[in-house]
């Protein structure tokens, strides 16, 4: 009687657990696009336009920040003694890199106007480094289909947690120094936030675009986008807390257009 009861109980638990275990094993997790690629659909669209590379121009400019304070604060890394031990000077958040009225870490890119062109993704991977328990770079760009190599340079564990909305979310651990993770993104998306659930202060933003005409403003607010085909474009500047600024520009043959984009403090 007892033996039959135990058998019945064991079978019930197995029947309940097996489908759930299969779901756990097969579902969720790091469903990034580093697995086998799907066969591309037949291309029925019109052939991509070509442009004369001898006529390319450029977009140069500066991003300004108007009358705002720098809210960046020192990071307390006591949550991980290894991180704390890597720094002798205070480390500050990178939310707003403002200096002398100029704004750094602004992602500037051509948002519309390039739809008729086709740009193959480079094979050279972009890199996202975890060093000193900080993501480097804080803001960057990558092309659709271009590989991204994420490296743990720290003597502690990190988890790389990306929370895109158009691409699959992933969260993978890198418990040892030197571990690398390769990912690609199949859908254009501005922005893909990265975080580390172990070290809450770590964040990075990655823009995934379909062309190479993008840049990130430096500490002096300057940016350079070169070899731009002649045409009329919408240029967008993105900042993680200040939102976006948009400008319409026309780039003539061999012309360098100077832009000034200004952000204001949030109301």
């Amino acid at each position: 009687m007892k033996k039959r009861m135990w058998q019945g109980f064991s079978i019930s638990v197995l029947c309940l657990a097996l489908p759930v275990l299969m779901l756990v094993a097969c579902g969720g997790g790091d469903a990034g696009s580093d697995s086998d690629e799907a066969m591309p659909a037949e291309d029925t669209a019109a052939p991509a336009a070509a442009f004369d590379e001898s006529t390319v121009g450029a977009l140069h400019g500066v991003v300004k920040y108007e009358n705002g304070d720098d809210p960046d604060t020192a990071i307390r890394m006591s949550a991980d003694p290894s991180c704390q031990g890597l720094h002798t000077e205070p480390v500050y958040t990178e939310t707003l890199k403002a200096m002398d009225g100029n704004l750094g870490d602004v992602f500037v890119y051509i948002k519309t106007g390039l739809e008729s062109y086709d740009f193959p993704a480079p094979s050279e991977p972009a890199r996202l480094e975890q060093e000193g328990c900080i993501y480097h770079p804080h803001v960057s760009g990558i092309m659709v289909g271009q590989p991204l190599k994420i490296v743990n340079n720290d003597p502690t564990l990190h988890n790389v947690h990306a929370t895109p909305s158009a691409n699959p979310e992933f969260n993978q651990g890198q418990p040892f120094q030197g571990m690398e993770l390769d990912k690609t993104f199949d859908t254009a998306e501005v922005m893909v936030p990265f975080k580390c659930d172990v070290h809450p202060w770590m964040s990075s933003y990655l823009a995934v675009v379909e062309h190479p005409y993008f840049a990130v403003s430096g500490e002096d607010g300057s940016f350079h986008i070169d070899k731009v085909p002649p045409g009329t474009y919408t240029v967008e500047a993105w900042h993680e807390t200040l939102g976006t600024q948009v400008q319409e520009v026309t780039v003539g043959a061999n012309e360098t257009v100077e832009l000034e984009l200004t952000f204001k403090p949030a109301a």
Binding site: F9, D80, T156, H161, Q172
Partner: protein, 341 residues
């Protein structure tokens, strides 16, 4: 009567008295009850550990399951706050699961009542399902329905273990219907209603917590400066429902307290849980206010969840004893089933 006849008569007398010796309580021995009680306290601690994970947003600090960073114990896990919280929670959950299986095995060896043995199996099933839900919530990046189910099932599991602790106690088994019936009026029903309200309040709190509505109403005790929020969306509605639920639970507990302490203060099995509630409920309200006023600081946030679990357990103890005392004849099959297989 000769000496031999007298000796035989004495032996017969002793043999007869042994046949009518009262059954020793508790039926399964005192240590099963003590083990179950200790496990119940550990489950409350485990719920607190889980609340700590959510409070510090460390639910995905260990990105894989069932292993942690591909190992049984990630390197230096105890030194890194968020990993210690999540991995520590998993280790404690594993310990609770093993102890629950031990409890079920022990019950099957020593407990004569079939329904108690089945209850112990239910507890094992619940803790295994809870582990799977925990794994799913990590693998699917904390989806709200799974996170809320994980939180709710934790409370159900706690109730099962608390019930096992209560029904294996001597206090429970001493009530056999042979003594004078204790007049409890509607206390058993009211206690059951209160326990149901507490459980519902916990589930609403879990929905609020895991849908990010914990600060949907940023002030306390008012809501946006008023007693009723000026507008409603889902986060505000669920948060306000949790506050109204707190009021309902407080009133229900207050009635129980007045009733029991007023009429039955000599009944220890009812008095003790009621006194426990008089301490826990005001503490819970204070902690809830602190969560809002500190913008969800980790400590009050964690203790608020743990105290909610303690209130549920205490209210359940009151309910079980009240039902037992109010309906001893209906709940007395075990006396006739001592040797039930």
């Amino acid at each position: 009567m000769s000496i031999a006849e007298s000796f035989s008569a004495t032996l017969e007398e002793k043999r007869g008295s042994r046949d009518h010796e009262p059954t020793r309580l508790p039926l399964s021995g005192p240590w099963l009850h003590r083990f179950a009680s200790g496990l119940a306290f550990l489950v409350v601690f485990l719920i607190a550990a889980g609340a700590n994970v959510t409070s510090r947003e460390a639910g995905l600090a260990v990105p894989d399951w069932p292993l942690s960073y591909g190992t049984l114990n990630p390197p230096r896990w105890w030194q890194i706050d968020n990993v210690r919280a999540e991995h520590g929670h998993r280790l404690l959950a594993g310990t609770v699961a093993i102890l629950t299986v031990l409890l079920a095995v022990w019950a099957h060896r020593r407990e004569p009542r079939r329904w108690v043995r089945r209850l112990s199996l239910g507890a094992v099933a619940a803790v295994l399902l809870q582990a799977l839900l925990g794994g799913l919530t990590v693998r699917f990046f904390l989806p709200t329905p799974i996170s809320v189910s994980h939180a709710a099932l934790a409370q159900v599991f706690l109730c099962l273990v608390v019930t096992l602790a209560v029904v294996t106690s001597e206090t429970w088994q001493r009530v056999d219907g042979s003594g004078p019936r204790v007049r409890l009026g509607s206390i058993p029903q009211w206690a059951a209603l209160t326990t149901g309200l507490v459980f519902l309040q916990i589930v609403v709190g879990a929905v609020m917590r895991h849908s990010g509505a914990g600060l949907a109403i940023p002030d306390f005790p008012r809501a946006f400066g008023r007693w009723v929020p000026p507008r409603f969306d889902f986060p505000i509605a669920i948060h306000y429902a949790h506050r109204l639920g707190a009021l309902a639970v407080t009133l229900a507990v207050a009635v129980s307290v007045i009733w029991v302490l007023g009429k039955l203060k000599s009944t220890k099995a009812l008095r003790l849980p009621v006194l426990g509630l008089t301490v826990l409920v005001p503490l819970q309200i204070t902690l809830g206010a602190s969560v809002v006023l500190t913008s969800k600081a980790i400590v009050p946030n964690t203790f608020h969840v743990a105290t909610g679990a303690a209130i549920l357990a205490t209210s359940l103890v009151l309910t079980l004893h009240a039902w037992r005392m109010g309906n001893p004849s209906r709940m007395n099959p075990e006396r006739s089933s001592l040797i039930e297989g």
